[in-house]
């Protein structure tokens, strides 16, 4: 990946596109963790691609590319989220269904439906994307202790939902 980043920094669009494709899954999951709507997630990713391309020359350390990219994405997603919040009129806009095509597994459904948005992103970044606590703290502008608290609470919520789902499945089988 370092080679691709070096090339992208020198203006090689093909290298940059390869990098984005390598990180597409991560970007999609992070955008969805913040913005449930598919349109908004798509917008956030597209904006991120353009911003990252504009600024790739300022990236000093190639090994930080993914962290840097995800930070841009989080900023873009938050911006869109804030715009949505301020655009809500008297007639509440119904939230787009989160089950559109992609998230068909029970696990993802549980994630979006049951876990508070405050915890979703830290859980995703830590367990799925495997960022370290200090990196998550940087990305989300939180203290490390706050990140840990959110992980703890998020984990507790997930475990509680999993247990409840397990009990229901058991009852259904009996």
């Amino acid at each position: 990946m370092k080679t691709l980043v070096k090339k992208a920094k020198r203006g090689d669009a093909d290298a940059f596109v390869s990098l984005i494709k390598q990180n597409k899954q991560s970007m999609y999951k992070v955008a969805k963790a913040i913005l449930k709507s598919e349109d908004d997630a798509a917008d956030a990713i597209q904006d991120t691609i353009l911003v990252a391309w504009e600024h790739i020359g300022t990236l000093k350390k190639e090994e930080y590319f993914k962290t840097w990219l995800i930070r841009i994405l989080i900023n873009e997603s938050n911006r869109i989220y804030r715009q949505r919040q301020s655009c809500i009129s008297d007639e509440k806009i119904p939230e787009a269904a989160v089950f559109e095509n992609g998230y068909q597994t029970v696990e993802w459904n549980l994630f979006f439906e049951s876990i508070d948005e405050k915890y979703r992103l830290v859980l995703l970044l830590y367990y799925v994307e495997q960022f370290k606590v200090r990196e998550i703290a940087e990305l989300l502008q939180l203290s490390q202790s706050n990140v840990k608290k959110r992980l703890s609470e998020g984990r507790r919520q997930v475990q509680k939902k999993l247990e409840a789902a397990h009990v229901i499945r058991k009852e259904q089988l009996e």
Binding site: K24, S86, S143
Partner: protein
Amino acid sequence: MNQFKKWILEMKQDVTIPSETDEKIEHTLKNLQKETNSDMNEKKSAGFLKSGRYRAVAAVCAVVLLAGSTAYATTGNFSLLSDFRNDSSEVKERAQSMLITDVKQTTGKDTETEDASKVSYWVTSKVKEAVCDKNTVLVELEVKPRNTEKYLLKPLDADLANDLGLPEAFDTNLSVEDYARSVGKTPLPVSVDFIRANELDHVSMDYQMQKDGSVIFKLQFNNYDKTELLKYRYGIVVTRPDVSGEKANIRDYFDFELEDQSKGTVVHYKPVDKNQIVKGTHLVVEDVEIEESDLSIGAKVTYRYTGETMPEDKWEDSVDGDVMFFFFDKDGKPLEDDGVYGGGDGGVLLKGRYGEKNSVYRDSTGLNKTELPDTLVLRARGIFLGKKWFGEVLVRRTEKTIR
């Protein structure tokens, strides 16, 4: 395998990205390749149609480098010196005496041009004032529309007029556009970014609109350079109202210098017992470096892990990976954390890898200005795995250098 672990494994699997979303992403990537490969000189950062909605992307790029921008919602007190209003009178006086009002701008100060493709055609900018010492830099940047009768600046993330910090807009739910219309002006989107040596460093930013439609941006960041002459660069992006599409977003950079005439005193403290393992942990404190500058105190604790090597991913769940150090005097009185310098970062790896035997780490924190005693007590405390206090280490002042 327990349910939670199974859940994690499932979450790590690739998901099917809906075709419509995937097509939009691929469309953007293809256009980017096409535009770059067709000999265009400038990198295009906007103008790729998305979902039938056009968005001025370059205007948002400044968000990348900023730690978070929030409007400073009160008026009459937005000068840099207001940041010291809760400090001691000594610090306030010092800050006042160190205020730089004639900042040397090597490029761009109040520059104007008749070329509409340049930022200086639309706005002027200057660094109005700055305060810097060996730990902290604060900068106040004024950006003004050249035509203040016609335009009102709209910072990047200001969606509501409330965000602008104007008292007359506080109790309204007006958008910035509606507010601009109400005062007979057109919003001119603008964003500021700041070039840092370390792209993972934090720059915090506030802004406030002035009555004439200009905006004061207040930036704060750590001084890592520690030289007498500090050189910085800021970028401004403006979305031109006279052009649509790719050419609407224009960016220019401006440079300025600050003379840091402050002195920093760096004091090192060493453990009285250099082999002492902090009780309840496997950590040995090696050094405490305290930099006392005119306006603040930055403290760094360097410590080594002496336990058995563990897998890297176990480190953060271990007691040793969870600890931060707090400062007390000999009588047990805590030295107050100012919560600013270093961001209160704990456990930054300096040597080895996480969880490796003899790996070395550093905690950074800021302390309120106070008289530093010759002896300090460091107490280790768990942050996440229960807020438990562990052992303490006595450290004594050794060498002192003036920076």
